[in-house]
């Protein structure tokens, strides 16, 4: 209890002390303004840095997007080469021995 009481007492004391020595009433406003200028200055520095990093990221993503776009095109071309109709037909006929059924071997079943 004693310690707590002393703390309260001290706090009150120090509050008065701070108020008395550092914040004379007419100095409150200029001090606050000075503080906010300082804060905004640091803010500008901080956000400039953040913007730079984000912009760099953005550019990096754009480059990657272009790269992926190009790659997609190449893969599409590769797929097209593999599934080229003439190639499929050739493999079906020569390798797998498949034939397109002629008219005589097709029987249509009507229900």
């Amino acid at each position: 209890m004693n310690a707590a009481g002393r703390l309260v007492h001290q706090n009150v004391w120090s509050f008065h002390w701070v108020r008395h020595y550092f914040f004379a009433r007419q100095q409150v406003l200029p001090s606050l303004l000075a503080l906010s200028i300082l804060l905004s200055a640091f803010g500008i520095i901080y956000f400039t840095q953040v913007t730079r990093v984000l912009h760099a990221n953005y550019e990096h993503c754009l480059v990657e997007k272009d790269h992926l776009h190009v790659q997609q095109g190449q893969l599409l071309l590769e797929r097209s080469t593999w599934i080229m109709q003439a190639r499929v037909q050739q493999i079906a006929e020569n390798k797998l021995g498949m034939v397109i059924p002629d008219h005589k071997s097709v029987v249509v079943i009507h229900e």
């Binding site: 754009l62 272009d66 776009h69 190009v70 190449q74 599409l76 071309l77 080229m84």
Partner: protein, 568 residues
């Protein structure tokens, strides 16, 4: 005293040094002020000049894909190798290694470099359009003075099969032919611009500001189905070769939506490799070449006759003696003569019968029907160089002019217009605009013919493809097919008609119980032993139609016992 004197002496020296140092500091401060404040603009400009660069970023050209999303035209990155002859060290090893990668002779490289060195040039291409793999290997060599430049090239995976529709671009990525030209603005990407900081070696260190973002072009989704396109191409090619024809076109049309599923021509070209190809081959003949259709027009003449109410499919008309004097000219038949029904006239394509019917009607009626089904009018597919055709409205109509119009002369049409006009029969008399682009919403329909007449016409046209008709060879087993043959003499450049030069055509619809597909085949100037439309174009039609129906999973609709002998 000594103690008193010393400080005085020291004070003097102290102030002298202090003033001296202050002057230096002031001088420096003044210089800094001069540079940083008074001269700031000049210096910043000089600094920026050395490191800031405005670079443009590539805007990709959109893809062209078929209706199922398979690519028909794709832009992809390729690389060009260039050297700065002033920097290139012409050691034998360098040239040999480079030559092996680029598939050149070492001598060529050294000679080029030396030649440009003498001219004091700083840039010369060694080889262009290299694949990324080779470019990477060149990069790994890390040779001084050898640089890579990224470029974009258009590739057409379907090659000559879809060459006429898709067209091609030039080196500047601008459309030159076909849809690449017609939809250039839509496909075109917009290049972006940005400021970057580069170091001494030209590497980008950081991006400073984006002036304009790059905008990729839009993709273009066509109504084409690459499988049908390929089959149509293959069959048309076989037909043109077999009949030794000069050229040919075929169109597969989805009658329900007006979408063009395939459009092929012969002769064709490979858009990936156009060196030495005659520009004549670039033409998409299915929409740019006009021809006199001949007998395929008779379907509309007979439809006009039926619509007048004066004729029924079983009305008997006497075509004896197989020729008819109209004005000062004679209309002749080649096959049969005597009294016959309107159905039979259609079936054997009798000129006399059709002439007799049309001449007994008010003269403008045929023209109006032809006009309404789309002849001499743009189809609206947005294809560059498309022709509208010629269909003159005479006033007054001469009897012979009208008669020739009734069997398809004195009028010129494109194969696409012909297919589109036949789609009117397939759609119960409603006209649907054709489209080369895949449609999301159903198109607007326009009624141009009585639905009962359209239905009657389908049955009449079906008789053409049955035994005894001119289009017997075009019948597709298992399906009910309607169609009409056409054999027209080619008009000569000097007026009149050429002898023994024909355009053989066939237009048909299937399956009749629920018409879905229209196929038009036009083969120009067959030099083989056959020249009739039914013999030249009919079999091509049959193969294209059959494979299209199979690919689209259309079930056979012919009655079970069409020909009992075929079934065991």
């Amino acid at each position: 005293m000594m103690n008193k004197n010393q400080p005085t002496f020291m004070t003097w020296r102290f102030y002298a040094v202090l003033i001296f140092i202050s002057m230096i500091v002031l001088g420096l401060a003044g210089r800094v002020f001069y540079l940083a404040v008074l001269n700031q603009h000049f210096l910043r400009h000089q600094g920026d000049e050395r490191v800031l660069r405005l670079v443009s970023t590539h805007g990709f050209r959109g893809m062209i894909v078929d209706r199922n999303g398979f690519p028909l035209a794709v832009s992809t990155a390729v690389y060009s190798v260039w050297v700065n002859p002033q920097e290139f060290v012409s050691v034998q090893n360098n040239a040999v290694a480079l030559a092996r990668l680029l598939d050149l002779k070492p001598k060529e490289i050294t000679e080029t470099v030396v030649r440009y060195q003498k001219k004091k040039r700083e840039f010369v291409y060694l080889k262009r359009s290299l694949s990324p793999e080779i470019a990477n290997k060149v990069k790994m060599l890390k040779m001084p003075g050898v640089y890579l430049q990224q470029e974009y090239r258009r590739y057409y995976p379907e090659g000559e099969v879809a060459g006429h529709i898709v067209g091609f671009t030039n080196v500047d990525d601008q459309g030159q032919e076909g849809l690449e030209l017609g939809y250039n603005q839509w496909l075109l990407g917009e290049a972006g611009e940005k400021w970057v900081i580069k170091d001494r070696l030209g590497r980008v260190i950081s991006d400073v500001q984006t002036i304009q973002d790059q905008k990729p072009g839009h993709d273009l989704v066509l109504s084409i189905d690459r499988r049908i396109q390929y089959l149509a191409y293959r069959e048309l090619l076989a037909g043109v070769m077999q009949n030794h024809a000069v050229s040919g076109s075929a169109i597969v049309l989805d009658a329900k939506t007006g979408e063009i599923l395939a459009m092929v021509n012969q002769p064709s070209f490979n858009p990936n490799n156009r060196k030495g190809v005659k520009s004549d081959n670039f033409r998409n003949r299915a929409v740019t070449d006009l021809f006199e259709p001949g007998s395929t027009m008779k379907a509309f003449s007979v439809a006009t006759a039926l619509a007048s109410g004066k004729f029924k499919p079983d009305t008997i008309i006497d075509t004896y003696p197989g020729w008819l004097r109209v004005g000062r000219n004679i209309v002749k038949d080649e096959h049969e003569k005597g009294p016959m029904t309107v159905t039979r006239i259609m079936q054997i394509s009798s000129n006399v019968g059709v002439t007799k019917m049309i001449l007994s009607l008010p003269p403008d009626q045929l023209w109006e029907l032809l006009h309404h089904v789309g002849f001499s009018q743009p189809t609206g597919i947005g294809f560059p160089g498309e022709q509208n055709g010629v269909l003159v409205r005479h006033s007054p109509w001469g009897a012979f002019t009208l008669a020739t119009l009734a069997f398809g002369y004195g009028v010129s049409v494109t194969p696409l217009q012909l297919a589109s006009a036949y789609a009117v029969f397939a759609n119960g008399g409603e006209k649907i605009p054709v489209s080369l682009l895949k449609l999301d919403t159903p198109p607007t329909r326009e009624r141009v013919m009585d639905p009962r007449i359209a239905q009657q016409m389908l049955l009449l046209l079906e008789s053409v493809v049955t035994k005894g008709g001119t289009g017997e060879l075009a019948s597709v087993p298992g399906y009910r097919v309607a169609g009409k043959t056409g054999t027209a003499v080619i008009a000569s450049d000097h007026g009149g008609y050429e002898k023994h030069r024909y355009i053989s055509s066939f237009v048909g619809i299937a399956p009749l119980s629920n018409p879905r597909i229209v196929v038009a085949v036009v083969i120009r100037d067959p030099r083989g032993k056959n020249y009739y439309g039914g013999q030249v174009s009919g079999p091509v039609f049959e193969k294209i139609m059959e494979s299209t129906l199979r690919l689209l999973d259309v079930s056979p609709d012919a009655p079970p016992t069409t020909d009992p002998s075929e079934k065991v």
